[in-house]
Symmetry: C2
Subunit: 436 residues, 2 copies
């Protein structure tokens, strides 16, 4: 994998206090206690009906590169973050624990334990920041992307938000958009690193570079062929469409409209293209689209949508509010005991959770999250949701992105139809909890 | 610089269409035309009174690593993005143009040309995506960070949002927060890469790991010394504060409160600490703080604030909506001519802009953005805002992060006092435009 995205080491993508806690726990002997951490969201962003598990593949990649090398150790000791004894421990550190999680692309609901990290306290506490960074970003983008795909109703979506987010986040966002059903991305690094199909033709700058629009179109058609997409809103759309078909002929691939009242302009362009005999030429619309704007264009003659800002910013919910909580740990006598905060407002539920999705007549009806196996109920079926991702430190859960993409499609199809409504609502499934 | 953040190459952090345009322009001969691109925001996020230029240092670093190596070229040709002739051009590519920009940390307003990239069309069009990714992210975080620092009124702020954003964005956010006046960050990579002071002590997991709170506090005090910060809201705050002072003595560094009604809990903790003789023990509050919540705590006995989610998500404005527009290019006869879109809604102003800030009695009164030098006005002074960053391909604008931090402090002090109001308002300076 290229260094630009994958990087050499991920160990310092970590909060200072993870190492302070490690050092104290190494000194007092609790570092070796068996510990169970879980990642979950207390709630979904306001009005969202489901969450989407995303980031699993990236987390597994990052975990394999979570190593404290000479440069990391030099920084940590020089700056006084750790002492020599802790540095020596970090130098030998390899994650040797187990990770289970919801399979990437599956849906989640409030309280769903989408990741469980188990091992010694020392090795599991260190992964908190990295795990949360990856999942909080990717799940936030995924939830928005999934709704946009629903809103588009089968029309292809192009992800083009790289310029509106951090350059590294852009690559992850392009991966997640494809996972959730976007057809292509503008981001070349996502093409190289994750195999996401890339697409792109020209910006307004290309038209402005040339002496006139005609020269720009001629150049693009000559370089890219008739099946390209010509951008027709630099000056006057009607004139541009006329020029485009005149130069390309009726076999022109597509025209792109990036401004104005997209519905009205698309309708006018469609009429004009049809009138010119270019009935197969597609109309691509871009420009400040979100899931609501896409839905509002359902009756317009648009053949594809390009989405930027609202995709990479999670369409109003730029982080998924996932937390990484210690739910069980070994006590002095070697027994695993459930633990949880009990302060007002943020209290949690202790114990290692098992998660199942309950189905009735093939439709999901509830999320069961319990420290016990679920009690069977007549007429229902329960599907276990957690799969092994890392076993004794070895990554076992890697899969092609296309597998996660297909899983997401299936997971949505299993939900009750109201889950896919764009309007604000409650989580589509109730989370039923239990405790042993 | 460590690879984890700096990476090996940045050339594919680029939209597909930049290369499609390059290829067509190489074929038709316009690739060599001199071109001027400018980065600016058409408007500030709703209600914000100023923007903050941030990302300059990161952009210069990324520009130096913008190279098409064997792996990049292999991907681009294999996937059909470019042909062999374009690949050969890319292999030899080194940016040889000029970049001017607002100095990092300076404020900006609607229309301020915070970056100008000048060179051949070929070399300047390629940088669009990377420049926008860096500046759109960093300026968004900076605007939020700057307001939080104002709201805190001199009390130190700790950046702790890494877990709520993409792991690479987290490092950039920590850098920008420090630039805007945050004291420290939790992010270790920001410490290593940018020298931002890091801080952190313990999470609730550390208390839960131990058999009781007393054992956890004793361990932390033993490992980190009396001057540490003990987290007191895992169970009962009053009991935790009592235990903390009992174990540490009145010289305890600080207690941290992460939940509940922060004002009420901080007041109660302060009273209790004072009653126990721990008058010098600080009260640190964290937990879903944004600039408004910080301002609301001005009268509470808080000694420091920790900010996470709202910092890394730009406190409601996760992207700065900056655009990268071609404003002038050479024509067939070798003259540089201004260019701009003329479609409805997104029309721009052509021509290479000069920017000055106008002062009256030492207070900034207007942002002058014009293709001409500004006309002097009696009783006013104009400060030029653009500094050279890259000259003939060589980076000349690199500076220590502390210099940008100091500049931001000064830039805010020059604005009219209303600029620093937290309430929603218009941009603090009018942008006066002119054209030759």
């Amino acid at each position: 994998m290229p260094e630009a995205v994958r990087g050499a080491g991920t160990a310092l993508l970590t909060d200072h206090y993870e190492l302070t806690m490690l050092q104290a726990a190494l000194r007092d002997g609790t570092a070796a206690r068996h510990a169970v951490f879980e990642v979950f969201a207390r709630r979904l962003p306001q009005g969202r009906r489901y969450g989407v598990t995303a980031g699993t593949g990236r987390f597994l990649d990052a975990l394999e590169r979570f190593r404290f090398g000479a440069d990391e150790l030099d920084f940590l000791t020089r700056s006084g973050v750790v002492d020599d004894a802790t540095a020596a421990w970090l130098e030998r550190f390899r994650f040797g624990g187990d990770v289970w999680g919801y399979a990437e692309g599956d849906c989640y609901f409030p309280g769903s334990p989408i990741l469980r990290v188990e091992g010694t306290f020392a090795e599991t506490v260190l992964l908190e920041t990295l795990a949360l960074s990856v999942f909080n970003h990717d799940c936030a983008i995924a939830a928005a992307a999934s709704r946009m795909v629903q809103a588009a109703g089968g029309r292809p979506l192009i992800e083009m938000g790289s310029r509106r987010t951090h350059e590294g986040a852009a690559v992850a966002a392009a991966r997640v958009a494809h996972l959730c059903g976007f057809a292509t991305t503008s981001n070349l690094e996502a093409g190289r690193t994750y195999g996401v199909p890339t697409a792109g033709t020209a910006a307004h700058a290309f038209t402005l570079l040339h002496d006139d629009e005609r020269a720009a179109f001629r150049s693009q058609l000559s370089a890219s062929g008739t099946d390209t997409t010509l951008l027709v809103d630099t000056y006057d759309v009607a004139e541009a469409v006329r020029t485009a078909v005149e130069l390309a002929g009726p076999g022109l691939g597509a025209v792109r409209i990036d401004s104005g009242d997209l519905r009205a302009v698309a309708e006018e362009a469609r009429r004009q293209l049809d009138g010119l005999g270019a009935r197969g030429t597609r109309v691509v619309v871009t420009g400040d689209l979100d899931e609501y704007a896409i839905a509002a264009l359902a009756a317009a003659p648009c053949d594809a949508y390009g989405v930027g800002t609202s995709l990479v910013t999670g369409s109003g919910a730029p982080t998924a509010s996932l937390v990484y909580k210690l739910v069980a740990r070994e006590d002095a006598s070697g027994d695993l005991v459930p633990v949880a905060k009990s302060s007002p407002g943020k209290s949690g539920t202790g114990g290692r959770k098992h998660a199942h999705r309950r189905f009735q007549d093939g439709v999901a009806v509830a999320e069961l999250v319990s420290t016990d196996a679920p009690a069977p109920e007549p007429g229902t079926e329960d599907r276990p949701l957690q799969v092994p991702l890392v076993t004794a430190g070895r990554v076992v859960g890697r899969e092609p992105l296309e597998a996660a993409r297909e899983r997401h499609r299936r997971a949505l199809a299993e939900l009750p139809p109201a889950a896919l409504h764009l309007t604000k609502g409650d989580p589509a499934l109730p989370t039923l909890t239990g405790q042993s």
